[in-house]
Protein backbone atom coordinates (compact mmCIF):
# COMPACT_ATOMS: atom_id res chain seq x y z
CA UNK A 1 0.00 0.00 0.00
CA UNK A 2 1.08 3.54 -0.72
CA UNK A 3 2.12 5.26 2.54
CA UNK A 4 -0.44 8.01 1.96
CA UNK A 5 -3.16 5.43 1.53
CA UNK A 6 -2.15 3.67 4.75
CA UNK A 7 -2.37 6.95 6.63
CA UNK A 8 -5.71 7.97 5.16
CA UNK A 9 -7.18 4.51 5.66
CA UNK A 10 -6.10 4.39 9.29
CA UNK A 11 -7.24 7.93 10.00
CA UNK A 12 -10.67 7.05 8.64
CA UNK A 13 -11.03 4.54 11.50
CA UNK A 14 -11.15 7.48 13.90
CA UNK A 15 -14.42 8.57 12.35
CA UNK A 16 -17.70 7.83 14.08
CA UNK A 17 -21.21 7.82 12.73
CA UNK A 18 -22.69 11.30 12.87
CA UNK A 19 -19.33 13.04 13.25
CA UNK A 20 -18.74 16.52 11.84
CA UNK A 21 -15.21 16.56 10.50
CA UNK A 22 -12.86 19.09 8.95
CA UNK A 23 -10.20 17.64 6.68
CA UNK A 24 -7.05 19.55 5.78
CA UNK A 25 -5.43 19.67 2.37
CA UNK A 26 -3.46 16.64 1.06
CA UNK A 27 -3.55 13.30 2.87
CA UNK A 28 -6.36 14.43 5.23
CA UNK A 29 -8.61 15.11 2.22
CA UNK A 30 -8.04 11.49 1.13
CA UNK A 31 -9.59 10.28 4.41
CA UNK A 32 -13.00 10.96 2.88
CA UNK A 33 -12.40 8.09 0.45
CA UNK A 34 -12.24 5.56 3.30
CA UNK A 35 -15.35 6.39 5.33
CA UNK A 36 -16.70 2.96 6.32
CA UNK A 37 -19.76 1.76 4.45
CA UNK A 38 -22.99 2.78 6.17
CA UNK A 39 -21.36 5.47 8.28
CA UNK A 40 -22.60 9.03 7.88
CA UNK A 41 -19.86 11.62 8.36
CA UNK A 42 -20.47 15.27 7.51
CA UNK A 43 -17.52 17.23 6.18
CA UNK A 44 -17.08 20.87 7.08
CA UNK A 45 -15.08 23.14 4.84
CA UNK A 46 -13.92 26.36 6.47
CA UNK A 47 -14.68 28.50 3.42
CA UNK A 48 -18.34 28.15 4.39
CA UNK A 49 -19.86 24.75 3.73
CA UNK A 50 -21.23 21.91 5.81
CA UNK A 51 -21.86 18.70 3.89
CA UNK A 52 -19.09 18.53 1.30
CA UNK A 53 -19.74 15.93 -1.39
CA UNK A 54 -17.30 14.17 -3.74
CA UNK A 55 -15.53 15.80 -6.66
CA UNK A 56 -17.93 16.60 -9.51
CA UNK A 57 -18.37 14.52 -12.62
CA UNK A 58 -16.25 16.11 -15.37
CA UNK A 59 -18.22 18.83 -17.11
CA UNK A 60 -20.35 19.68 -14.06
CA UNK A 61 -17.74 21.69 -12.16
CA UNK A 62 -19.13 24.85 -10.57
CA UNK A 63 -16.75 27.75 -9.96
CA UNK A 64 -18.97 28.79 -7.03
CA UNK A 65 -18.59 25.44 -5.29
CA UNK A 66 -15.13 24.75 -3.95
CA UNK A 67 -13.61 23.37 -0.76
CA UNK A 68 -10.97 25.04 1.40
CA UNK A 69 -8.31 23.62 -0.91
CA UNK A 70 -10.01 25.55 -3.74
CA UNK A 71 -10.88 22.25 -5.40
CA UNK A 72 -14.22 21.89 -7.15
CA UNK A 73 -16.60 19.74 -5.08
CA UNK A 74 -20.31 18.90 -4.97
CA UNK A 75 -23.09 19.21 -2.44
CA UNK A 76 -25.07 16.45 -0.74
CA UNK A 77 -28.71 16.41 0.36
CA UNK A 78 -28.61 18.56 3.50
CA UNK A 79 -25.64 20.75 2.58
CA UNK A 80 -25.65 24.24 4.09
CA UNK A 81 -23.62 27.27 3.02
CA UNK A 82 -22.65 30.16 5.28
CA UNK A 83 -20.15 33.00 5.57
CA UNK A 84 -16.52 32.72 6.68
CA UNK A 85 -17.43 34.38 9.99
CA UNK A 86 -20.19 31.84 10.59
CA UNK A 87 -17.89 29.03 9.52
CA UNK A 88 -15.22 29.92 12.04
CA UNK A 89 -17.83 30.58 14.72
CA UNK A 90 -18.75 26.93 14.14
CA UNK A 91 -15.11 25.85 14.34
CA UNK A 92 -14.08 28.11 17.23
CA UNK A 93 -17.18 27.14 19.18
CA UNK A 94 -16.02 23.52 19.31
CA UNK A 95 -18.86 22.14 17.21
CA UNK A 96 -16.56 20.23 14.86
CA UNK A 97 -15.92 16.79 16.37
CA UNK A 98 -12.65 16.13 14.65
CA UNK A 99 -10.05 18.01 12.67
CA UNK A 100 -7.53 16.00 10.66
CA UNK A 101 -4.62 17.91 9.21
CA UNK A 102 -1.05 17.60 8.04
CA UNK A 103 2.07 18.84 9.78
CA UNK A 104 5.65 19.85 9.19
CA UNK A 105 6.49 18.99 12.81
CA UNK A 106 4.70 17.70 15.91
CA UNK A 107 6.25 17.28 19.31
CA UNK A 108 5.74 15.25 22.48
CA UNK A 109 3.62 17.97 24.07
CA UNK A 110 1.24 18.02 21.12
CA UNK A 111 2.62 21.25 19.74
CA UNK A 112 2.06 21.52 16.02
CA UNK A 113 3.96 23.39 13.30
CA UNK A 114 2.50 23.31 9.81
CA UNK A 115 2.41 26.79 8.37
CA UNK A 116 5.79 28.41 8.08
CA UNK A 117 9.41 27.58 7.33
CA UNK A 118 11.55 30.66 7.99
CA UNK A 119 13.41 31.61 4.84
CA UNK A 120 11.06 29.66 2.61
CA UNK A 121 8.12 30.86 0.52
CA UNK A 122 5.58 32.87 2.44
CA UNK A 123 2.20 31.19 2.52
CA UNK A 124 0.14 32.00 5.58
CA UNK A 125 -1.67 29.90 8.13
CA UNK A 126 -5.11 29.97 6.53
CA UNK A 127 -7.59 28.43 8.94
CA UNK A 128 -5.20 25.99 10.59
CA UNK A 129 -4.62 27.99 13.78
CA UNK A 130 -8.36 28.34 14.35
CA UNK A 131 -8.99 24.67 13.64
CA UNK A 132 -6.33 23.25 15.95
CA UNK A 133 -7.22 25.65 18.75
CA UNK A 134 -10.88 24.67 18.80
CA UNK A 135 -11.81 21.32 17.27
CA UNK A 136 -12.83 18.83 19.94
CA UNK A 137 -10.12 16.46 18.74
CA UNK A 138 -7.12 17.12 16.50
CA UNK A 139 -5.42 14.32 14.56
CA UNK A 140 -2.24 14.88 12.62
CA UNK A 141 -2.11 12.62 9.56
CA UNK A 142 1.28 12.77 7.83
CA UNK A 143 4.20 10.77 6.56
CA UNK A 144 6.36 9.79 9.50
CA UNK A 145 9.62 11.42 8.42
CA UNK A 146 10.81 13.80 5.71
CA UNK A 147 11.80 12.45 2.29
CA UNK A 148 15.41 12.44 3.44
CA UNK A 149 14.49 10.44 6.56
CA UNK A 150 14.73 13.31 9.06
CA UNK A 151 12.29 13.10 11.97
CA UNK A 152 9.20 15.33 11.99
CA UNK A 153 8.06 14.06 15.38
CA UNK A 154 10.28 15.76 17.91
CA UNK A 155 10.97 16.60 21.53
CA UNK A 156 10.12 20.18 20.70
CA UNK A 157 9.08 21.77 17.43
CA UNK A 158 11.76 24.03 15.95
CA UNK A 159 9.47 25.72 13.42
CA UNK A 160 6.99 28.47 14.35
CA UNK A 161 3.95 26.85 15.97
CA UNK A 162 0.47 26.62 14.55
CA UNK A 163 -0.90 25.66 17.92
CA UNK A 164 0.38 24.98 21.40
CA UNK A 165 -0.58 21.62 22.99
CA UNK A 166 -3.34 20.97 20.49
CA UNK A 167 -2.66 17.54 18.95
CA UNK A 168 -4.38 14.47 20.38
CA UNK A 169 -3.20 11.74 18.02
CA UNK A 170 -0.55 11.34 15.32
CA UNK A 171 -1.15 8.89 12.50
CA UNK A 172 1.64 8.02 10.05
CA UNK A 173 2.26 5.11 7.70
CA UNK A 174 4.39 3.58 10.45
CA UNK A 175 2.54 4.25 13.65
CA UNK A 176 -0.35 5.62 15.65
CA UNK A 177 0.78 7.71 18.61
CA UNK A 178 -1.27 9.32 21.35
CA UNK A 179 -0.17 12.55 23.02
CA UNK A 180 -0.15 12.19 26.81
CA UNK A 181 1.28 14.24 29.64
CA UNK A 182 4.11 11.69 29.88
CA UNK A 183 4.94 11.96 26.19
CA UNK A 184 3.99 10.15 22.99
CA UNK A 185 2.59 6.68 23.46
CA UNK A 186 3.13 4.29 20.53
CA UNK A 187 -0.11 2.35 20.26
CA UNK A 188 -0.14 0.84 16.81
CA UNK A 189 2.36 -0.13 14.16
CA UNK A 190 1.96 0.19 10.39
CA UNK A 191 1.66 -2.92 8.19
CA UNK A 192 5.39 -3.66 8.04
CA UNK A 193 6.80 -1.39 10.74
CA UNK A 194 8.78 -2.39 13.82
CA UNK A 195 9.10 -0.54 17.12
CA UNK A 196 12.81 -0.03 16.45
CA UNK A 197 12.18 1.43 13.01
CA UNK A 198 9.55 3.83 14.32
CA UNK A 199 11.78 4.97 17.18
CA UNK A 200 14.72 5.46 14.81
CA UNK A 201 12.66 7.78 12.60
CA UNK A 202 11.23 9.69 15.59
CA UNK A 203 13.01 12.59 17.29
CA UNK A 204 11.63 11.96 20.76
CA UNK A 205 11.58 8.90 23.00
CA UNK A 206 8.36 6.98 22.47
CA UNK A 207 6.54 5.23 25.27
CA UNK A 208 5.64 1.83 23.89
CA UNK A 209 2.15 0.78 24.93
CA UNK A 210 1.87 -2.58 26.70
CA UNK A 211 -0.10 -4.02 23.85
CA UNK A 212 1.13 -2.51 20.62
CA UNK A 213 -1.23 -3.59 17.84
CA UNK A 214 -1.02 -3.67 14.09
CA UNK A 215 -3.00 -0.93 12.36
CA UNK A 216 -4.92 -3.30 10.14
Amino acid sequence: MDPREIIARRAARELQDGFYVNLGIGIPTMVANYVPEGMEVILQSENGMLGVGPYPVAGTEDADLVNAGKETVTEIPGTAYFSSADSFAMIRGGHVNLSILGALQVDRQGNLANWMVPGKMLKGMGGAMDLVASARRVIVAMEHATKSGAPKILDACTLPLTGSKVVDTIITELAVMRVTVEGLVLEELGPDATVEQVQRLTGTALIVAESVRRMF
Partner: protein, 233 residues
Protein backbone atom coordinates in the same frame (compact mmCIF):
# COMPACT_ATOMS: atom_id res chain seq x y z
CA UNK B 1 -33.98 54.40 -2.89
CA UNK B 2 -31.84 53.38 -5.80
CA UNK B 3 -28.30 52.23 -5.07
CA UNK B 4 -27.63 50.94 -8.56
CA UNK B 5 -24.62 52.46 -10.31
CA UNK B 6 -24.26 52.33 -14.08
CA UNK B 7 -20.82 50.71 -14.08
CA UNK B 8 -17.99 49.41 -11.93
CA UNK B 9 -15.97 52.45 -12.99
CA UNK B 10 -18.65 54.81 -11.68
CA UNK B 11 -18.99 52.84 -8.46
CA UNK B 12 -15.29 53.04 -7.56
CA UNK B 13 -14.72 56.58 -8.87
CA UNK B 14 -14.03 58.01 -5.40
CA UNK B 15 -11.55 55.40 -4.20
CA UNK B 16 -8.47 57.51 -3.57
CA UNK B 17 -4.80 57.03 -2.79
CA UNK B 18 -4.20 55.53 0.63
CA UNK B 19 -7.68 54.04 1.00
CA UNK B 20 -8.27 50.89 3.06
CA UNK B 21 -10.18 48.37 0.97
CA UNK B 22 -11.67 45.01 1.87
CA UNK B 23 -12.13 42.61 -1.02
CA UNK B 24 -14.36 39.54 -0.77
CA UNK B 25 -13.65 36.06 -2.03
CA UNK B 26 -11.87 32.86 -1.07
CA UNK B 27 -9.11 32.17 -3.53
CA UNK B 28 -10.70 33.10 -6.85
CA UNK B 29 -14.17 31.99 -5.72
CA UNK B 30 -16.59 34.86 -5.22
CA UNK B 31 -14.24 37.73 -6.01
CA UNK B 32 -15.59 41.03 -7.44
CA UNK B 33 -13.58 40.91 -10.67
CA UNK B 34 -15.17 43.95 -12.31
CA UNK B 35 -14.68 46.13 -9.23
CA UNK B 36 -11.06 45.01 -8.95
CA UNK B 37 -10.45 45.76 -12.63
CA UNK B 38 -12.07 49.19 -12.31
CA UNK B 39 -9.93 49.96 -9.26
CA UNK B 40 -6.79 48.90 -11.11
CA UNK B 41 -7.84 51.11 -14.03
CA UNK B 42 -8.09 54.11 -11.71
CA UNK B 43 -4.39 53.83 -11.02
CA UNK B 44 -4.59 54.80 -7.36
CA UNK B 45 -1.63 54.17 -5.07
CA UNK B 46 -0.78 53.10 -1.52
CA UNK B 47 -3.88 51.05 -0.96
CA UNK B 48 -4.25 49.07 2.24
CA UNK B 49 -6.00 45.85 1.33
CA UNK B 50 -7.74 43.31 3.52
CA UNK B 51 -8.66 40.05 1.84
CA UNK B 52 -8.29 36.39 2.72
CA UNK B 53 -6.09 35.73 -0.31
CA UNK B 54 -4.09 37.73 -2.85
CA UNK B 55 -5.33 36.33 -6.15
CA UNK B 56 -2.98 34.55 -8.52
CA UNK B 57 -0.85 35.82 -11.41
CA UNK B 58 -2.89 38.19 -13.60
CA UNK B 59 -6.19 37.34 -11.90
CA UNK B 60 -8.13 38.97 -9.08
CA UNK B 61 -5.97 40.88 -6.62
CA UNK B 62 -2.94 39.63 -8.55
CA UNK B 63 -3.74 42.51 -10.93
CA UNK B 64 -3.62 45.05 -8.11
CA UNK B 65 -0.36 43.61 -6.88
CA UNK B 66 1.16 43.76 -10.34
CA UNK B 67 -0.03 47.35 -10.75
CA UNK B 68 2.02 48.25 -7.68
CA UNK B 69 -0.96 49.87 -5.98
CA UNK B 70 -0.89 47.91 -2.70
CA UNK B 71 1.15 49.32 0.18
CA UNK B 72 -0.02 46.90 2.83
CA UNK B 73 -2.09 43.74 3.01
CA UNK B 74 -3.83 41.82 5.76
CA UNK B 75 -4.84 38.24 4.93
CA UNK B 76 -4.62 34.62 6.03
CA UNK B 77 -3.12 32.92 3.00
CA UNK B 78 -1.09 34.28 0.12
CA UNK B 79 -0.23 30.90 -1.35
CA UNK B 80 2.09 30.61 -4.28
CA UNK B 81 2.39 34.26 -5.04
CA UNK B 82 5.98 34.87 -6.09
CA UNK B 83 5.63 38.60 -6.79
CA UNK B 84 4.08 39.20 -3.37
CA UNK B 85 6.98 37.45 -1.69
CA UNK B 86 9.51 39.55 -3.60
CA UNK B 87 7.70 42.73 -2.66
CA UNK B 88 7.48 41.75 1.00
CA UNK B 89 11.13 40.72 1.23
CA UNK B 90 12.11 43.87 -0.67
CA UNK B 91 10.25 46.02 1.82
CA UNK B 92 7.81 47.32 -0.77
CA UNK B 93 4.70 45.76 0.75
CA UNK B 94 3.81 45.36 4.39
CA UNK B 95 2.17 41.95 4.88
CA UNK B 96 0.28 40.88 8.01
CA UNK B 97 -0.81 37.28 8.22
CA UNK B 98 -3.80 36.58 10.47
CA UNK B 99 -5.51 33.25 11.23
CA UNK B 100 -8.47 32.95 8.89
CA UNK B 101 -11.08 32.70 11.62
CA UNK B 102 -9.57 35.64 13.46
CA UNK B 103 -9.60 37.62 10.21
CA UNK B 104 -13.27 36.82 9.64
CA UNK B 105 -14.18 37.65 13.24
CA UNK B 106 -12.18 40.89 13.29
CA UNK B 107 -14.11 42.01 10.21
CA UNK B 108 -17.42 40.94 11.73
CA UNK B 109 -16.47 42.85 14.89
CA UNK B 110 -15.73 45.93 12.79
CA UNK B 111 -19.18 45.77 11.25
CA UNK B 112 -20.86 44.93 14.55
CA UNK B 113 -19.39 47.72 16.71
CA UNK B 114 -17.25 45.41 18.81
CA UNK B 115 -13.79 46.96 19.20
CA UNK B 116 -12.12 43.79 20.52
CA UNK B 117 -12.73 40.18 21.49
CA UNK B 118 -10.84 37.14 22.71
CA UNK B 119 -10.03 34.07 20.62
CA UNK B 120 -8.03 30.90 21.31
CA UNK B 121 -6.58 30.90 17.77
CA UNK B 122 -2.88 31.61 17.78
CA UNK B 123 -2.41 31.48 21.55
CA UNK B 124 1.14 30.29 22.21
CA UNK B 125 2.29 31.15 18.67
CA UNK B 126 4.00 34.15 17.07
CA UNK B 127 0.57 35.47 16.15
CA UNK B 128 0.00 36.28 19.82
CA UNK B 129 3.25 38.21 20.24
CA UNK B 130 2.68 41.73 21.48
CA UNK B 131 -1.00 41.09 22.08
CA UNK B 132 -2.88 40.85 25.33
CA UNK B 133 -3.28 37.27 26.50
CA UNK B 134 -5.92 36.43 29.06
CA UNK B 135 -7.09 33.26 30.72
CA UNK B 136 -10.74 32.32 30.83
CA UNK B 137 -11.61 29.05 32.58
CA UNK B 138 -7.97 28.00 32.59
CA UNK B 139 -7.38 28.48 28.88
CA UNK B 140 -5.35 31.16 27.12
CA UNK B 141 -6.97 33.57 24.69
CA UNK B 142 -5.59 36.34 22.52
CA UNK B 143 -7.28 39.74 22.38
CA UNK B 144 -7.88 40.77 18.79
CA UNK B 145 -9.19 44.11 17.56
CA UNK B 146 -11.80 44.97 14.92
CA UNK B 147 -11.07 45.70 11.27
CA UNK B 148 -13.00 48.21 9.17
CA UNK B 149 -12.41 49.71 5.73
CA UNK B 150 -13.11 52.83 3.72
CA UNK B 151 -14.49 50.64 0.94
CA UNK B 152 -15.64 47.04 0.84
CA UNK B 153 -15.80 45.46 -2.60
CA UNK B 154 -18.01 42.38 -2.53
CA UNK B 155 -19.42 39.93 -5.01
CA UNK B 156 -22.98 38.62 -4.69
CA UNK B 157 -25.28 36.54 -6.82
CA UNK B 158 -28.46 38.63 -6.82
CA UNK B 159 -29.19 42.06 -5.48
CA UNK B 160 -31.91 44.71 -5.59
CA UNK B 161 -31.85 48.51 -5.75
CA UNK B 162 -32.17 48.67 -1.94
CA UNK B 163 -28.89 46.81 -1.58
CA UNK B 164 -30.28 43.48 -0.39
CA UNK B 165 -27.96 40.66 -1.45
CA UNK B 166 -27.92 36.88 -1.69
CA UNK B 167 -24.90 34.74 -2.47
CA UNK B 168 -24.45 31.45 -4.29
CA UNK B 169 -22.86 28.40 -2.64
CA UNK B 170 -19.28 28.86 -1.42
CA UNK B 171 -18.97 32.13 -3.34
CA UNK B 172 -20.45 33.62 -0.16
CA UNK B 173 -17.32 33.25 2.03
CA UNK B 174 -15.98 36.64 3.23
CA UNK B 175 -18.40 38.73 1.17
CA UNK B 176 -21.27 39.20 3.64
CA UNK B 177 -18.89 39.85 6.52
CA UNK B 178 -16.94 42.48 4.63
CA UNK B 179 -20.20 44.07 3.45
CA UNK B 180 -20.86 45.00 7.08
CA UNK B 181 -17.44 46.53 7.72
CA UNK B 182 -17.04 49.02 4.89
CA UNK B 183 -17.90 52.67 5.38
CA UNK B 184 -18.84 52.42 1.70
CA UNK B 185 -19.79 48.95 0.53
CA UNK B 186 -19.95 48.31 -3.20
CA UNK B 187 -21.57 45.10 -4.40
CA UNK B 188 -21.04 43.50 -7.79
CA UNK B 189 -23.99 41.24 -8.59
CA UNK B 190 -24.77 38.81 -11.38
CA UNK B 191 -28.41 39.76 -11.52
CA UNK B 192 -30.41 42.77 -10.38
CA UNK B 193 -33.93 41.95 -9.24
CA UNK B 194 -36.87 44.03 -8.02
CA UNK B 195 -37.27 44.63 -4.26
CA UNK B 196 -39.46 41.83 -2.95
CA UNK B 197 -38.14 39.22 -5.38
CA UNK B 198 -35.52 38.00 -2.92
CA UNK B 199 -37.08 35.86 -0.18
CA UNK B 200 -37.05 38.11 2.94
CA UNK B 201 -36.13 35.10 5.11
CA UNK B 202 -33.10 34.33 2.93
CA UNK B 203 -31.41 37.69 2.44
CA UNK B 204 -27.82 37.21 3.57
CA UNK B 205 -26.91 40.90 3.44
CA UNK B 206 -29.71 43.35 4.31
CA UNK B 207 -29.58 46.52 2.23
CA UNK B 208 -28.56 48.74 5.13
CA UNK B 209 -24.98 47.53 4.66
CA UNK B 210 -24.74 48.20 0.94
CA UNK B 211 -24.22 51.64 -0.56
CA UNK B 212 -23.74 50.87 -4.24
CA UNK B 213 -24.80 47.99 -6.47
CA UNK B 214 -23.29 47.25 -9.88
CA UNK B 215 -24.24 44.55 -12.37
CA UNK B 216 -21.27 42.43 -13.41
CA UNK B 217 -20.13 42.27 -17.03
CA UNK B 218 -20.76 38.54 -17.22
CA UNK B 219 -17.15 37.36 -17.24
CA UNK B 220 -16.34 33.67 -16.97
CA UNK B 221 -15.69 32.68 -13.35
CA UNK B 222 -12.30 31.14 -12.73
CA UNK B 223 -11.66 27.74 -11.23
CA UNK B 224 -8.41 27.48 -9.32
CA UNK B 225 -8.20 23.68 -8.94
CA UNK B 226 -10.44 21.74 -11.29
CA UNK B 227 -10.95 18.37 -9.59
CA UNK B 228 -13.32 15.75 -10.97
CA UNK B 229 -14.38 12.23 -10.13
CA UNK B 230 -12.47 9.27 -11.59
CA UNK B 231 -13.97 8.10 -14.90
CA UNK B 232 -15.65 5.00 -13.53
CA UNK B 233 -17.45 6.59 -10.59
Amino acid sequence: MNKIYPSAEAAVADIGDGATIMIGGFGLCGIPEDLIAATVARGVKNLHTISNNMGVDHVGMGLMLEAGMIASHIGSYVGENKLLEEMVLGGRLDLTLVPQGTLAERIRAGGAGIPAFFTPAGAGTIVAEGKEIREFKGRSYVMEEELTADFSLVKAWRGDRMGNLVYRKTARNFNPVMATAGRCTIAEVEEIVEPGELDPDSIATPGIYVHRVVRWTGYEKRIERRTVRGGGQ
